[in-house]
Amino acid sequence: MNAKRKDLLATIIIDVIVATVVGILAFLLAYILISGLPHVSWLFLTGSADSFSGAGGIGIQLFNSFYLLILTMLISIPISLGAGIYLAEYAKDNWRTRLIRSAIEVLSSLPSVVVGLFGFLLFVVKFKIGFSVISGAIALTFFNLPLLTRNIEESLSAVSRSQREAGLSLGLSKWKTEIGIILPVALPGIVTGIVLSAGRVFGEAAVLIYTAGQSAPVTNFSDWNPMDAASPLNPFRPAETLAVHIWKVNTEGLATNAAQLSAAASAVLIIAVLLFNLFARVLGNYLYRRVTASK
């Protein structure tokens, strides 16, 4: 076989592999959307669920998902930013840094159900916080930190060394160079990473089953005082999220239309995650153009 034919063969094989992957993805998406979307209505998106009669919707679960996401991000972004900057710029290449790096890797490969059970034992049981938004948010932070830290470190390391030298040669301190020069250049990559991880967090169920709980108490959406027990913002109330709701309807749902309910909720979840991905791309590109001022 000559080089030209070998190349052709290899190209065909690669094309087939790619087509298979894309095909599976397209099939999954189409299946979920086609079976779920017909059951999605405004009432379904805003109403509260009733697992017995099968009526109502996912309003509270949807709100819980977003609320948990925001709380998780509020906790995990500052921590991973600090850790990422440390690893990219300040950590010396020695055994301690290698230890930190492998610890992060181990943390990122922990099964999410283990993180969930750990959160359950520590926050829910030991600290007596109970099934709550805050327990869920902290457990999700454990789940989210390693990937976010990695992403921030890589975005920072990808910025050319010559930019750092330029900053230092002008008499700027290392910190000032880092914050004023390197971070803005790395920002598009960091923001893209944050939004993508938001998509993952949004769809996560196993961590939350044991920490944020599986019940969505009816909340009073006219009460926005986080201290009130019935307020949707109260971080100490149990909060079933959309992903947990899908799991629960499928395993314990008593309603006759449980299959339809979970299909519809799945469609909503998939759309939300797709929107996160799209948003990450648009925002990343926009920031990149803004930062480099290349219009």
């Binding site: 010559s162 040669s169 480099t292």
Partner: protein, 267 residues
């Protein structure tokens, strides 16, 4: 095969007390770990002149240059004395940030910040506490004029510096250093990534700048050294072999290795 030249015989000029010096080094040595990269370099740089550092790759000329404003601090050990305004700036208690504002540096590849042209120039200035908009605007114009870039960019100061050509970017980097009002400018092969026309522009800029600044430039290009420098130092394998007026260096080099290098029969 590289010929074996003796490091015993060197020809390094010194200056009498009538010459005003911008800075000088005494027995400067540089180590990268156990690698002895620079041996006993003692050079003096006359004020308001261009001094060129020439030599083959790996000769230690960039290492030497980067040690002058302590840019090698984190990667190498530098011993010996670096005199600047009567102070040995190779001391641990010296404020290196202050030093680097006095001894500016321009690098091999143009490295403007991913900011607007104006921001590139005033960012570091603002960090030192200059906030007055009028002062900053003045400094932008002065620095860009100093680097012969003002006429080309004065209408687009808010455009991205990354949209400039390579030669313009390099002159912007020079302007950025000038904005800190240094008195010594270190340039590490500033033209090696530029085309001949941009190179000529940068060289013209440097010749103009030596009236106000002392310039030390590392270059691979011997013609460039001959065109712009007054003094020339030849580095070989981490040793300063010869340091003399440029005309002497290129017409009557005093030792064999320099002779071979400038005539092109080196190695």
């Amino acid at each position: 095969m590289l010929k074996n030249y003796s490091f015993e015989k060197t020809a390094v000029q010194t200056f009498d007390e009538h010459t005003t010096l911008a800075m000088k080094t005494e027995n400067m040595q540089v180590f990268y770990g156990s690698n002895h990269a620079m041996h006993d370099a003692s050079l003096a740089f006359p004020k308001n002149q261009i001094t060129a550092l020439i030599g083959a790759s790996g000769s230690g000329k960039s290492t030497y240059l980067r040690s002058l404003n302590r840019m090698n601090d984190t990667i190498a050990t530098v011993t010996g004395k670096i005199w600047y305004h009567g102070v040995d700036i190779n001391q641990p208690n010296v404020n290196i940030y202050e030093i680097r504002r006095h001894i500016g540096m321009v690098f091999q590849r143009p490295n403007p910040f991913a900011k607007s042209i104006r921001e590139n120039i005033i960012y570091a200035l603002r960090a030192t506490g200059v906030k007055n908009k009028k002062v900053l605007d003045e400094r932008v114009e002065q620095s860009l004029q100093g680097a012969a870039l003002w006429d080309e960019v004065k209408d687009s100061l808010d455009k991205s510096a990354l949209a400039l050509s390579g030669g313009q970017q390099q002159r912007l980097c020079i302007a950025r250093s000038l904005a800190m009002s240094p008195d010594v400018l270190l340039l590490d092969e500033p033209c090696s990534a530029l085309d001949p026309i941009s190179t000529v522009k940068v060289e013209e800029t440097l010749l103009e700048l030596q009236k106000k600044y002392t310039i030390i430039i590392v270059t691979h290009n011997m013609q460039q050294a001959a065109r712009i420098s007054s003094q020339c130092a030849f580095f070989h394998l981490g040793h300063v072999m010869e340091y003399s007026p440029t005309t002497t260096m290129f017409s009557t080099p005093q030792i064999q290795v320099t002779q071979d290098y400038v005539s092109g029969s080196f190695g």
